[in-house]
């Protein structure tokens, strides 16, 4: 008869840069149930909207997460702009989309490095993060910041780029593509890497649908859904299809994210050829009155921004549903039946952002 025991996992764990706790109920070495605890660093940022001017709040939104910082600011701005009926200049839409896709590349490279570190492949981790530095350098050259760059504002963006900068960005991305091709071989074909990822943490298409998973977690289980298809910002001018894989395991999630990096590079190339000249912002007059749900595709999946304005400079409500929050039920499902040794890999391939969840 198997022996049942409970193993605490986190909130401090080598694979977790941020705190989440799981009580893993085991029968011998198999996980039969996982009970999560979150809220160790809940910051109440949604509440802060009642105390900050709606234009100041962009800075707060950007600090919900340090990885998808730009897209948090963008999501909040889009929601406010919709309520106020602000038409953002087309060039600003293109610039926002470019920084959003660069953010996706940087986030996925960061995640690939963490995954490599998780299965003990330190040189692979360093190669991924070396590539990521090139993207952070682009951020620094174009905005002045590397992680939180506060370039998005209500009504447009704060900085423009010239044609020389765009050429430099495209050249850098071409270099990244070449180097990623070499790294990709290891993630896709290396025996030990495959051994840690293939067949581990399977989330079937039906489970992904039932548990309302989002982002690469969902697309790796065969569901072709990508919020960018809502055609917000400049995506309406771009040609792309969601990256999908059907196996639903850790390996499939890895493949989806690697291919999404190539897709983002392709999208930036498309943006460069289609980017119009013109203004990058418009003047904001008045205060928001009304409500709106704005949805974007962050690196981890669909994020939802809800704002409700009352006609003053303070909003009644700002609500953000982050992709990690939506993926927790799917993560718990995949943990059921896995080996204890696979738990770190499995949690990593969800790509959890706890600071997003603890907004």
């Amino acid at each position: 008869m198997s022996r049942r025991s409970i193993i605490p996992f986190g909130p401090q764990h080598p694979v977790l840069p941020e705190p989440i706790h799981l009580d893993l109920v085991l029968e011998d070495e198999k996980v039969v149930e996982a009970i999560p605890s979150i809220g160790y660093v809940h910051r109440g940022l949604e509440k802060l909207v009642e105390k900050k001017d709606f234009q100041q709040y962009v800075y707060v939104a950007e600090r919900i997460c340090g990885i998808c910082s730009f897209m948090h600011g963008m999501g909040y701005c889009q929601a406010v702009e919709n309520v106020m009926g602000i038409k953002v200049p087309e060039r600003a839409e293109f610039l926002r989309t470019m920084w959003a896709e660069l953010s996706r590349i940087h986030s996925h490279l960061l995640w690939l490095g963490l995954l490599a570190d998780g299965f003990g492949f330190e040189s692979l981790f360093m190669q991924c993060w070396r590539l990521r530095e090139k993207i952070l350098d682009i951020f620094e050259m174009t905005t002045g910041g590397r992680i939180i760059f506060s370039v998005c504002k209500i009504g447009g963006v704060r900085k423009d780029i010239d044609s020389d900068m765009m050429k430099l960005i495209l050249k850098t991305l071409k270099d990244v593509t070449g180097e990623l091709k070499k790294i990709e071989v290891i993630f896709f074909n290396d025996y030990t890497v495959r051994h840690r990822l293939v067949g581990v943490g399977v989330l079937t298409k039906q489970q992904a649908s039932e548990l309302c998973a989002v982002g690469p977690m969902m697309r790796a289980s065969g569901l072709a859904y990508d919020t960018r298809k809502l055609n917000y910002a400049a995506y309406k001018h771009l040609d792309f299809e969601p990256i999908v894989h059907n196996d639903g395991d850790c390996y499939a999630r890895c493949i989806v994210r690697v291919n999404e990096i190539y897709q983002s590079i392709d999208l930036i190339n498309q943006l460069a050829t289609k980017m119009p000249e013109g203004e990058i912002d418009v003047k904001v007059i008045g205060n928001p009155k009304g409500e709106y749900f704005s949805r974007l595709e962050q690196p981890r999946g669909e994020v939802v921004y809800y704002i409700k304005g009352n006609g003053t400079k303070f909003l009644d409500r700002m609500r953000v549903r982050t992709p990690t929050f939506a993926n927790i039920p799917a993560m718990l499902k995949t943990l059921q039946g896995c080996d204890l040794a696979d738990v770190p890999m499995l949690i990593l391939t969800v790509d959890p952002s706890i600071s997003c969840t603890e907004r």
Partner: protein, 125 residues
């Protein structure tokens, strides 16, 4: 012309219609996107958001603080997280949540910070 093409559709319902309406969304193949709550002057405003092939529908209902809500977590399993969150932040009682944290999902120094008695929270408006 507004900034984005995203459409926000809305259905207004009463509390007693909630379970039937949510079950209907499930039957139609909609995905639960999120549940949110906003405290207005004398009521709480709840939104249950659903999506099917980029079609975005929000079910809205208003309740007073003494009204208890039924859980939809037996229809949409992931709802348990949203419902626990709403209970802890707003103090709304939600019955029969499939996984009930009994007020221990978040570790906060202030009880129900979005609830009716939040005047003790710092900052000035």
């Amino acid at each position: 012309m507004i900034y984005m093409e995203q459409q926000n559709k809305r259905i207004d319902i009463e509390v007693q219609e909630l379970l039937n309406q949510v079950a209907h969304m499930k039957e139609e193949g909609f995905r639960l996107v999120q549940i949110s709550c906003t405290r207005l002057l004398d009521v709480f405003e709840l939104y249950y958001s659903f999506d099917k092939e980029y079609d975005f529908i929000n079910i809205r209902l208003n309740i007073t603080s003494d009204v208890e809500l039924p859980s939809i977590s037996f229809i949409y399993q992931p709802a348990f997280l949203y419902e626990n969150e709403i209970h802890e932040l707003f103090g709304i009682v939600i019955n029969n949540i499939s996984i009930d944290y009994n007020g221990k999902l978040y570790k906060m120094s202030v009880k129900t910070p979005f609830g009716p008695n939040d005047s003790d929270i710092g900052g000035t408006k």
